[in-house]
């Protein structure tokens, strides 16, 4: 396990009057895919939003490459090299597919080779290049959202439930793209409910429950231990 690029220490986050995160501490090692697991409402999405600065941590540290980014504006956090695929995909529906991607490439014109790689992974994006993103299907929107994160190289990718509500064939396409990204050496923090997908992609795993991190270790260990899965994730036996 290499040294971590992202470390959360005792992070607590409130939304309005509600305490959502109580004590979140974990690390994301460089060059690995870390799965953020847990039941619905455990606080996974809030954790990603806290890292992005979209909610503010009340206490605790968010260390990215040894810098505490907890108080930085979202745009600055992003510019440190963090890509974000939100749970609701965050597609700009009034913009075309091409414009969505152009906007995501913040350092200038899109890199041709990288764009070719992305459109090969997600063929519909090429087909509908000039269509308004709002007219895409749910699966195509998810592809666009992931593609937007991939359009330039980033030091960390935060991806929130890419498989949510999608048809199996599309999940397969997404999984293949994420594996590509992993093979290219990317560091990913991935929230995922689909355990088969988690097992296939994850190197490490962090499990959350009720706003706290309750377990972290290797994905392989979690995958091999049905009892652990049952206790942490409420799954009936091994998947």
């Amino acid at each position: 396990m290499s040294e971590p690029i992202l470390t959360l220490r005792s992070v607590a986050t409130d939304i309005g009057r509600y305490h959502i995160l109580h004590d979140v501490s974990f690390s994301v090692p460089r060059g690995e895919v870390t799965m953020l697991l847990g039941r619905n409402g455990a606080g996974k999405t809030t954790t990603l939003r806290t890292i992005m600065g979209l909610w503010r941590a009340r206490t605790g540290q968010v260390l990215f490459a040894d810098e505490d980014i907890a108080a930085l504006p979202t745009a600055e956090i992003s510019r440190r090299g963090i890509a974000y695929v939100p749970e609701d995909m965050g597609i700009f529906s009034d913009l075309t597919v091409g414009e969505n991607l152009r906007l995501a490439a913040i350092s200038g014109p899109m890199d041709k080779a990288r764009l070719a790689w992305i459109t090969a992974a997600f063929p519909p994006l090429k087909t509908f290049w000039d269509s308004a993103a709002g007219t895409l299907s749910g699966g195509q929107k998810q592809m666009l959202s992931v593609a937007r994160a991939m359009i330039e190289e980033r030091r960390l990718y935060l991806i929130d439930e890419p498989s949510k509500g999608l048809a199996p064939a599309i999940v397969t396409t997404l999984a293949r793209a994420l594996k590509d990204l992993k093979r290219a050496g990317a560091t990913i923090l991935l929230v995922e409910q689909n355990f088969a997908l988690s097992r296939a992609l994850g190197d490490g795993a962090v499990v959350m429950e009720d706003g706290r991190t309750v377990w972290s270790g290797r994905m392989a260990d979690l995958a091999a231990d049905a009892a652990l899965q049952g206790r942490l994730l409420g799954m009936e036996g091994a998947a």
């Binding site: 152009r102 906007l103 064939a169």
Partner: protein, 343 residues
């Protein structure tokens, strides 16, 4: 594992009515013109009124476009927008009155240069006022519409009073430059030269704004920001700066609109901005808050309707625009071109 992903696109053609739907608001403009042609007895009067209505619409669009974008981008409603109109008008008028040689001579290039100088000064002044307004009036009250309305209204009062302090309490007459006076005759209709110029300026502005919004990165940020400012920030853009830029640009455009209006009416008062705002509000509401295209269509409809009705029944002009607003809201409660908002 299945190989071929099953997301092949389907190319079934939607029925004509569906495809036409987004264009319906645009079609309202020729429909209104046609209705005017039927109701107004002489074709020449109709043409005069139409040009006048389009000129008025273009000026309202110039003023309203910034306001609708400011709302779309940051959910900020600025009731003090009228102050920029008045301020621009007074600064522009001051410049014109200070250049009697250039504005008064029957010399087209000199006249145009005088107007251009007046416009530049007005836009700079209104933009500067906008910068201060954003910083001291609007910024402390983000997130609360109630306070925004109250505070920007307060800002309007103070700005209007400052105009009185600087320029005195009286209205000021603003004569048009020599070569912009009078009218050209076309198809038996007298078309005021200045109104034609106003239409041209407005059209150039609309096309320029459309280009900016469609073809530049800044435009992409603004359009994306109207829908989902959070995601724009998550992509790494400092949306606050973009917002300040849009606010200042919108204020400057209101100042431009003020100069155009001053030369249209040939008289200005400190309260003129707030009077125009009534039409501006109607336009941004029926256009769809945050939509520049909707704002354009709405402005032309309001301008045309105002002129047609004022000709047919002078007392009903403003009421007819209220009726237009009611009708549009019954048809599309979010305005003609509703803006998609995340969440």
């Amino acid at each position: 594992m299945s190989r071929a992903p099953e997301h092949a696109p389907t190319f079934t053609r939607p029925p004509l009515a569906r495809r036409l739907e987004p264009w319906l608001p645009v079609l309202l403009i020729p429909a209104l013109m046609l209705a005017g042609l039927v109701l107004i007895p002489q074709g020449s009067s109709w043409l005069t009124l139409t040009v006048s209505g389009l000129a008025m619409g273009m000026m309202i669009f110039t003023i309203a476009s910034g306001m609708t974008l400011v709302f779309g981008l940051m959910d900020v409603i600025n009731f003090g927008h009228g102050a920029f109109i008045s301020f621009g008008a007074f600064v522009g008028a001051t410049v014109l009155l200070a250049l009697p040689g250039m504005a008064g001579a029957a010399d087209m290039p000199a006249n145009v240069a005088a107007v251009a100088l007046a416009i530049a000064a007005a836009m700079a002044a209104a933009g500067g006022l906008g910068l201060g307004f954003e910083r001291w009036i609007v910024r402390p009250v983000y997130g609360s519409h109630l306070k925004q309305i109250l505070v920007t209204m307060g800002g309007l009062i103070v700005a209007e009073q400052l105009i009185h302090v600087i320029w005195g309490g009286e209205q000021i007459a603003v004569p048009r430059p020599e070569t912009l006076k009078g009218a050209v005759t076309f198809a038996g209709a007298a078309l005021e030269k200045y109104r034609l110029l106003a239409v041209a300026i407005g059209l150039v502005l609309f096309l320029g704004m459309r280009w900016l919004l469609r073809a530049t990165r800044l435009g992409l940020i603004v359009r994306a920001g109207v829908e989902n400012p959070e995601m724009v920030q998550a992509l790494g853009y400092r949306i606050r700066r973009v917002f300040v830029l849009v606010f200042v640009a919108g204020s400057a455009l209101a100042g431009l609109g003020g100069v155009m209006w001053a030369l249209y009416q040939e008289v200005i008062t400190a309260g003129m901005g707030n009077q125009i705002m009534v039409l501006v509000f109607i336009v941004v509401i029926i256009g769809g808050l945050g939509s520049v295209e909707g704002c354009f269509i709405g402005a032309l409809l309001v301008g045309l309707l105002q002129n047609y009705v004022a000709f047919l029944e002078p007392k009903a002009a403003l009421v007819s625009n209220i009726a237009l607003m009611v009708a549009v809201l019954m048809w599309r409660p979010q305005g003609m071109i509703p803006v998609v908002k995340a969440k």
